[in-house]
Symmetry: C2
Amino acid sequence: MASPASNGVPAVNGSFDKSVDFANYFCTYAFIYHQKEMLSDRVRMDAYYNAIFNNKHHFAGKVVLDVGTGSGILAIWSAQAGARKVYAVEATKMAEHAKALAHANNVEDIVQVIEGSMEEVSLPEKVDVIISEWMGYFLLRESMFDSVICARDKWLKPSGVMYPSHARMWVAPVRSGLGDQKMNDYETAMSDWYSFVNDTEINYGVNMNVLSQAYREEHEKYYLKTSLWNSLHPSQIIGTPAVIKEIDCSTATVDEIRNVFANFLLPINVDRTRLSAFAGWFDVHFRGSMQNPVEQEVELTTAPSIDNSTHWGQQVFLLHPPLRVDVGDKLMIAFSMSRSRENHRLMDVNFTYELQLSSGKCFKPVARKYYIE
Amino acid sequence: MASPASNGVPAVNGSFDKSVDFANYFCTYAFIYHQKEMLSDRVRMDAYYNAIFNNKHHFAGKVVLDVGTGSGILAIWSAQAGARKVYAVEATKMAEHAKALAHANNVEDIVQVIEGSMEEVSLPEKVDVIISEWMGYFLLRESMFDSVICARDKWLKPSGVMYPSHARMWVAPVRSGLGDQKMNDYETAMSDWYSFVNDTEINYGVNMNVLSQAYREEHEKYYLKTSLWNSLHPSQIIGTPAVIKEIDCSTATVDEIRNVFANFLLPINVDRTRLSAFAGWFDVHFRGSMQNPVEQEVELTTAPSIDNSTHWGQQVFLLHPPLRVDVGDKLMIAFSMSRSRENHRLMDVNFTYELQLSSGKCFKPVARKYYIE
């Protein structure tokens, strides 16, 4: 046999299993190296740091809840900005490190680290601010915003504010050599498979060809249909990005984010180029609330950038085959995203795209299915 | 946040959870690419093929049970060797592919694929042969032999035979550059950590140093204490390998394999060299039973080899620091291996080694703990 460690894609059926979820999802966050990766993301750190310290009026003397505190950094900053009390909830053993860190930074009287899942812990009081860094790849991967919504509905005072307060998903048309690479990998894997089928028949008298179609599907999914992490260069964007989803963190419901649908237009604005993928990313804003706005608004964007790339990068959805496009052409997109049946923290994505040339010529719509793993 | 897929090391507590086990362990076997890797291991394939086809008297007209059939290859061979009936049990969706494969190879009337876990399925009759490829890294990783024992005690006729019938674990002293590499990686990671602590204090006013010890332990475990997969060259073995455990598959109990203890001697037989690791591997034999022996005995060994390496390779346990040794020196080893508290399919290993020089000089015993992940 000899199986390497699991790749974390459970083959269990649709039902939600807390232990499986812990094994597959939370356990990553119990490693300091993973916390360090997030703590080393300067764009992320600067955004939260500025959001807190440039808006101390939201924190001074207030009660704060940090959902998924990890190492405790946001809780400690909240305390340093003058919070009266900070409840820092963390599902993993990282909670112990957060406690040590709060102590070492002399805020142990203010920061109370609570080990447990947000859905299950009980706080002694309602809070003025909920702060959380809940964003996954392409915003909603990991489905962690569910826990923030739960915390908000249960523990935020009516006058309370959300940090961040708003979030948006973006899609843009891009050019990239990644698709050629992946197509090449896929074709190599398939030709290797057929040699294998041949060898197995000759050497061991068993014809494996009946599995070829399933092998092809497995590898199409892996190489061509699974979105890729990439830190794109801004010059790879060949059209005007579109906002495909806006979330008001103060009011959003789980129903509102469970399925995302959008119809939008992507105008190509680069001469004679190749559309080889769609890219997805997000931004969030710290604006406070209508009644209780920030003094200084802060933005955290994960858009392609030369100097300010993030650990989130962008998610790249490859097009096979790529399309020749020109400035003035436009793409009509019907987009949908829902949670994977097997793992509610992963996503199934559909892009249906229709190219309209500047000449007026329209191509037939093409539908493509992707997986965010 | 942005967490990649889990690395499969569950942070759940000791209790055995079937769904977690499925997500972490079985799901790998549901991918054809993983089956293909095993089916492409010529040493493995030849051993089972020869064991079956050179001992047809064990199969002709008999009832066979294949535990963890995967793609179904052993079941199909058993049918081709003349079995009257083959029950092929498989816990994953791979069962469907095994069915298709049996059909495509015209043995669908003989091979009955049963999707389910061995512990839970029911067979209509007792069997003459249990065949299974249950061996993990260093033999016992994955703890799959438990299921074979369960199958044997429940379904094997008293006169029945086990394929394979015997298994052994081996340990040898080796030289390798891997340890230097890993020590280097570890030191780089630690120096990077201290820069990070410094930067975080300067840029964000939080002192992370209290986590340094935990970070060090996390990285010691990852880089230095976790055994490594390697396909060693035979010339890297610098002493006489020792058998540290022998298993009779016809009689072994789970208690017998749950903890492995051994005291043994490793004589160095290479001039003035460096002992930088212990290597562990296994072999299995197909001998049938005392009452019902094979006609031709077959061996499957995963020892270091130039031409016959396997996908199991060897597990390498690094020594830090390495020891200068010479021909005539010997190592007294106290070895123990038990299942990880967090995941019963992973192993905790202890080596206590004591170097005795040919001059008679003895060094103090050194105890080292390792993890097979």
